[in-house]
């Protein structure tokens, strides 16, 4: 896909097409990884992946996340 470098204030930028941001679940303010390979003249944009330590039990964490989603209505307001 070809994009043009545009001016953003005093910087240069490119606009990401909506279908790309939608497919990557990138919202306004989402932080992403930007890798620059000057030898290959390539720039890669990547979603930041949270890597879990080896001793995490994924099933255990998913169970906690399920309860977080299930009880979001009560959990969301109790620290306000």
């Amino acid at each position: 896909m070809r994009r043009k470098i545009i001016r953003v204030g005093s910087s240069r930028g490119i606009l990401l097409p909506r279908e790309v941001t939608k497919a990557m679940h990138w919202e306004f303010g989402t932080e992403i990884d930007l890798d620059v390979n000057t030898d290959r003249k390539e720039v890669t944009l990547k979603t930041i992946k949270v890597s879990l330590p080896d001793d995490y039990n994924l099933e255990h964490l998913r169970g906690i996340e399920e309860h977080l989603n299930l009880h979001a209505d009560v959990l969301g307001g109790i620290d306000d």
């Binding site: 949270v50 906690i64 989603n69 109790i78």
Partner: protein
């Protein structure tokens, strides 16, 4: 710190991140010593009830949960969402141990809890009376 305590500490940090991300709030540790107090039970014990280990003694479970709730609320180890982390972990643990409880009553208890008036044994007692 023991390996279990470190594991527990990492789990709580992860849960804080998960909750803060869900509700678009800040995450992270505000006071590491307070967080260490949460996972450091008397006799260098740890909160094994959150590690997927099923405690055979119900009394130990209430005692661990009482400790956890008290030190999380009094010490506020995280930048935000301390009580939400407490409630979420309680809901998870009580479901894990297949105990019956009323989420609304538990939520009210956590919201109203004043660590200057209620200690960890009071909290354990409330849990043992209301989650069976």
């Amino acid at each position: 710190m023991t390996d279990n305590q470190k594991k527990e500490l990492k789990l709580l940090c992860f849960v804080n991140w998960m909750v803060a991300r869900k509700f678009d709030d800040d995450f992270g540790v505000r006071d590491l010593d307070s967080l260490k107090s949460v996972v450091n039970l008397p006799g260098n014990g740890s909160l094994t009830c959150f590690l997927g280990e099923r405690l055979s003694n119900r009394k130990d479970l209430y005692s661990q949960l009482g400790w956890f709730v008290y030190y999380m609320i009094s010490g506020e180890p995280f930048i935000s969402k301390n009580r939400s982390v407490v409630l979420l972990m309680l809901i998870w643990a009580l479901n894990y141990y297949r105990l019956e409880f009323d989420v609304e009553a538990l939520t009210d208890f956590i919201i109203m809890l004043d660590p200057l008036k209620q200690g960890n044994s009071d909290i354990s007692l409330w849990l043992s009376n209301n989650c069976r």
